[in-house]
Symmetry: C2
């Protein structure tokens, strides 16, 4: 049993905290809040211990938030801290808190790779996190890329990959985000480099387009193989066997997939899975070309849970992934989506 706290209770933190709270091998010490906003009260109503900076306790209490103690107390009482702070804040927390206190930490993909001893994707390199003090779960699209690429690597020789991301314009709770007026692009985006931080030196280029839409990230990949490329049936077979990829045949807009998640009454509409848009698959001489949809807000949740387990060595890769999947309902989500979009 590992004592785990979640430092930062935003889009990722709140989801990871709930999953930890239900996990029989992990004990949620509590979550931290730095501003007394609605999320602090949501954490209270979820029954979580809410820890706040020592000198903000009175302020939080005056706003009606039940405070369990200081952030410092929380981290002292934890074996591992899931750092779900804003991008770039994780490295500061590492230096000022986790290292001095000798605590383990799980960082998010908004941090640079060198914040941690290893960049992590459960399907790709679970074992590499074992015994490491600092583990970084790669970002949402990189997580999806790893889930798509790793099974291919196990069966084929990849020559190189070109990846295109059509980013949603903003995070869910953001009031502002992308330009309304234009498409912005980031040539040679971090994603290729981040995939390499997990999967090793795969030749890969990625470009990210930021566009004013609000339903999921949409990605396309053009993959060239060294010899022996998969057929369409091979690809569908391969991905159908992956627990965290749903193979959808008939979806034609991102809104349809999100609407299905509402109709399925999934908590927060979270699907956790990559949706492969199987009708986009094209097979070329020696290559494949396909697109997939990424639920940015939830895809890294199972990865964070597995990262904690991998780090502490509580379970094997296979056991942990299966346990995490069942914990948050992934098998049912996958089969439901595949049925709806059969």
């Amino acid at each position: 049993m590992a004592n785990v706290s979640v430092n930062g209770y935003g889009t990722i933190g709140k989801r990871v905290a709930e999953a930890i709270g239900k996990h029989s091998k992990l004990k949620l010490v509590g979550i931290s809040k730095y501003t007394p906003d609605q999320d602090a009260k949501i954490a209270n109503s979820n029954g979580f211990n809410v820890f706040v900076p020592k000198d903000s306790m009175k302020n939080f209490e005056s706003k009606g938030v039940d405070v369990a103690g200081s952030v410092d107390d929380m981290i002292t009482g934890s074996d591992t801290v899931v750092d779900a702070a804003a991008d770039g804040k994780g490295i500061q927390n590492k230096q000022s808190v986790y290292q001095p206190k000798g605590k383990n930490a799980i960082f998010q993909g908004g941090e640079e790779a060198d914040v941690a001893d290893v960049s992590f994707n459960a399907r790709s390199n679970f074992e590499d996190a074992n015994g490491k003090q600092f583990v970084r779960v790669v970002s949402c699209n990189t997580t999806a890329y790893c889930r798509m690429i790793k099974p291919l690597l196990e069966n084929y020789k990849i020559k190189y990959i070109n990846a295109i991301l059509i980013r949603r314009g903003a995070d869910l709770s953001d009031a502002k985000g992308s330009a309304l007026n234009a498409v912005e692009w980031k040539a040679h985006s971090h994603h290729a480099h981040d995939v390499q931080s997990v999967l090793g030196d795969i030749p890969m280029t990625s470009i990210a387009f930021k566009v004013p839409h609000t339903h999921s990230h949409i990605n396309s990949m053009s993959i060239i193989f060294g010899d022996g490329a998969p057929t369409k049936d091979d690809l569908i077979d391969l991905y159908s066997r992956e627990s965290r990829i749903a193979v959808l045949n008939t979806a034609s807009t991102s809104a349809q997939i999100v609407e299905a998640s509402r109709d399925l009454e999934l908590p927060r509409n979270d699907t956790f899975v990559v949706s492969l848009l199987a009708n986009t698959i094209a097979i070329n001489d020696g290559g494949v070309f396909f697109s997939f949809s990424v639920p940015q807000e939830s895809i890294v949740v199972p990865e964070n849970i597995d990262a904690i387990v991998a780090q502490s060595g509580i379970m094997s890769k296979q056991d942990s992934m299966k346990f995490t999947d069942e914990l948050i309902g992934i098998p049912k989500i996958k089969s439901s989506l595949e049925k709806i979009f059969a």
Copy 2:
């Protein structure tokens, strides 16, 4: 000297009519209007003869539009009609008017390929249009694809092409267009097929994403070569020599390119050229990956002019393309954009 009329005076028609009006080897008979809206008055103020359906003449005149005669008169007095009607209307016009009257016509890419004897891109297959009664100028993105692919075909063996289009949400003067709420995709879009209608049987797949943005179409292409792929310098050299491609190094949003066209005081902000985003070029083992921006409203204007010239055999390919380029200011536009984004 060919007598040319423009049937339909919308986004494409108004631009093509102006270019014909300035062309020393073509005589603009006039343009047609079917509704007495603002465009009819713009055509009047441009000094164009405005032809309308016979039974609408009084209606147009009562709205203050100067009417030169009936659409039937206009077509009777023309050697060639540029059909710039709404998508799918061209085939009706062909059957009900152009064929019975034995007139030549130039159709737009919104029509199916079989509307015409040949699908046309000046750079790619100018000579194929010579003497053909019906010529179809391919659509804006297909035109860009042909401009990008043809120079490669002349120098390299292409194995296959994967193309991705991030469509703007609506035409310029449209009040409604794409979903605001989602990304819509069209797997295996018409573009690959349309490129093949011009360039022959190149293995190619395309996907189109429709996204709520409003500044240019943005495209990415992943191209695999059979042997001997270009380097980044090769690509930049090759495209720099193309009169209708501008090679931009530093643009990072579509709005920047459109803003430059305003600052350059280009009529209607029209650039006519494909903007290659050179900083997106990635070279893989045997392949290239790059992105480019397409000014949907103007890119087919020079192609329509060249199509008329090619059809009637007034000039050679080289002479016509050069003449058209000078006519609408392309050499200056290309060099200005390349300087601004050097």
